[in-house]
């Protein structure tokens, strides 16, 4: 009845670590050279969600309705249901003669049918710069706070291991966003912060067990202890990932277009976070030569 896992994870560390380093590097290269596809929250600009209740209107009609108004770089795409469009343009600031009201009137008269402006967002250049800064600050602070918490609760080797795992998760998630040119906006910052929390959560569970086993089997090598601990917590790791993914999958499929990017980032993050707590956070303890002795010594010092 009772399943006891006994996989040899440690033997795979070398190959998975190489894969992780490779993926992290690729992600870094993508993020620095291809860049992230910032939404209007961080870049400034205007977004309009439009619904047209007419079969005759095509995406190119929508595009031409918005052209010739000096709106700057224009991007039109279908958005969920048929007849729904998402229009984004560069123009950030409006004045008396060119504003959302005149754009609306122009578009409706050019399309020749009524259009429902379901959502309008406009972010000015000052605000977008502030939002980007506060987003970066929030993520850095969250990382700092995690580091501090783990440092207080565990030894420094664990701190380093878990923070490496978090960086790994966040970088690869953003790398995938860069690769697929998915939009990075305020909700992605929320997703990244949640991934940081989740990845940490997953790592902590395994670390807790490693530390417990270190004192229980003080003569065993860190490799054996890591392997035992990962296997002992494997069932929990899988079940929690599954239920979290079930919830996120439900948001992704049914939660509407607005939550798509957010839930996708979270799904990627949870998958990578689960992987990294086994294959990134644990090997680092081995490389840092953590043993019962080193832990005991540290504790004496404190």
């Amino acid at each position: 009845m009772k399943k006891i896992y006994n996989f040899n994870f440690v033997s795979k560390f070398k190959i998975t670590n190489l894969a992780s380093i490779f993926l992290t590097l690729i992600s870094l290269i993508l993020i620095s050279f291809k860049g992230l596809n910032y939404g209007i929250d961080f870049k400034g600009g205007t977004l309009i969600e439009l619904r047209v209740e007419s079969d005759k209107i095509t995406i190119s009609d929508i595009r031409s309705a918005f052209s010739n108004m000096n709106l700057g770089d224009l991007n039109v795409k279908e958005f969920g249901k048929k007849g729904d469009y998402l229009i984004k343009f560069e123009k950030k600031e409006f004045n008396k003669n060119s504003n959302i009201k005149t754009i609306k009137e122009n578009v409706v008269s050019k399309l020749g049918v009524d259009a429902n402006f379901r959502r309008i967002e406009n972010v000015g250049p000052k605000v977008s710069a502030e939002l980007l800064n506060s987003g970066l600050l929030a993520i850095s602070l969250a990382l700092g706070a995690m580091l501090f918490y783990i440092w207080v609760r565990f030894e420094w080797q664990f701190s380093l291991g878990s923070i490496t795992a978090i960086f790994h998760d966040v970088l690869i998630t953003l790398g995938i966003f860069s690769l697929l040119s998915l939009e990075v906006n305020l909700s992605i910052v929320a997703a990244v912060l949640t991934i940081v929390g989740y990845s940490m959560n997953d790592t902590v569970v395994i670390y807790d067990r490693i530390r417990e086993n270190l004192s229980k089997y003080s003569s065993s090598s860190i490799e054996d202890i890591s392997n035992t601990s990962i296997n002992e917590t494997l069932s929990r790791t899988i079940i929690t990932s599954v239920t979290t993914l079930l919830a996120l999958g439900s948001i992704f499929v049914l939660g509407g277009e607005i939550l798509k990017g957010f839930s996708l980032a979270m799904i990627i993050g949870v998958l990578i976070g689960t992987y990294s707590s086994i294959f990134v956070a644990s090997p680092i303890l081995k490389y840092l030569k953590v043993s019962y002795k080193s832990i005991a010594k540290d504790e004496e010092k404190n």
Binding site: R119, N122, V123, A145, N201, T243, L248
Partner: protein
Amino acid sequence: MLNFSKIKIILIYFSFIVISLFCYSNFSDSKNIFLKKKINLGLDLQGGSYLLLEVDSTPLQNRQIQSKVIPLKKKLIEKKITYTNFKIKNNKIIFDISQDDKEKFDNFFTDKNNDINTFLDKYRSFELEYNLVNNQIIIGLSKNGIINLNTSAVDQSIEIVRKRIDETGTKEPSIIKRGSNRILVELPGVKDPERIKELLGKTAQLSFRLVTDNKTEFGNEFFTLTDTQEKISVSKRIILTGDNLIDANPKYDNINQEPIVAFTLNRLGSQRFGQATSKNIGKRIAIILDNEAISAPVIRDSITGGQGTISGNFTFQTATDLALLLRSGALPAPLSVVEERTVGPDLGQDSIDAGVLSLLIGFILVIVFMIIKYRFFGLIANISLISNLLMLIGFLTLLEATLTLPGIAGIILTVGMAVDANVLIFERIKEELNKNIGNNIQAFDLGFKRSVITILDANITTLIASIILFIFGSGPVKGFAVTLSIGLITTLFSAYFISRHLTSIIVLKNKEKKLLI
């Protein structure tokens, strides 16, 4: 860990029931102060407009610097400081002084009791600061001087913004100060914020001044009339400003049926207007609104009753808007929209529907999965999950929190992650059961004890992340942080108390029987 005293049991379920009962008040219309509490829907769910306005204080800085010129010159003469090349450029006062006067100047300018460079107690700094380049003195507003100007402009503007929005009939607007130079306006249910944006975009500074024949720039300004395109020269002397108005209403002119604005002046205004009009019969009076001359009628008779009208190529709508602006008063500085987010009501409803559906499906998926995985104990985990959700919603109601679309996502995520605590406990018990077959109580006891620390560690990390998000997040994203943080707390409560208690009942009843988790 399995022994619960009666008091503890009562306390646990009492607090659970009290908090969960708040869910109900969302569906009741009672006026009772407890049942009145409701979860607020964010603008992204109920539809509405979020506007972040910024005060453009450049004209204010300009005015403030201008106002210093005459007193400063007087003071310099009084202190026997000789100045040359006095000028104003880019909101800075610039002049030259001799080497010997530098110290004298510094002494009076940085004296806390001088009446030109005000010392701002609030900021512990002077309003103005000066730079000395060779023998040239450059005086400008200090950083705190600008903040002080912005703050007072925002404070004055907020009241006027509220009046203007109230006049449009918007229900329950929220108008709050943000930082030193911004105002955040939230307008629930507003479908088209364009009119409000237009109304807020005008300072509505009105003045009545005489049209002169004098074509020199000294004491005069030139305008082009917006109705007739005629070029006129207008005296800088102001007879009346909008501050003297107590009421304004749109009307139709009796003679040509054109829309006009009829106004009523206060006592001081009536006196001044009466004097000016009786002295200048036959002359023209220009009506200047936000640096545009809207009309310049001829004064036919003295107007002493404090009543008058403004004409100027209005439609009835523009006359109505102008009357509204004049009634609510002039803004000290122009406001510009630096961020806008507007959601139509139908999109809001679609979001609610999608959010609720995905919550329901996510919930069912997790529940089914737990039953398949843990059978009987899955049921306990599910009861704890349901009570968790009830408490989460109860808490949100109690705090009258704002629920946003990302907030709903936070609730769904809580559902997914909440079972983690139960899983940690069950897995640990499983291990203990494997070690001590036949001794249920000990195995469960150890299982709970050992998993508690891990559960705390694991949840605190997520809690830290979501609190940081709450502090830094803006708008809808903040709602995510709210539901996730409260969700973590209710998760800890339901796992640590409710599922532990339910498990203890089962275990204590089946001391000898083999229990399979």
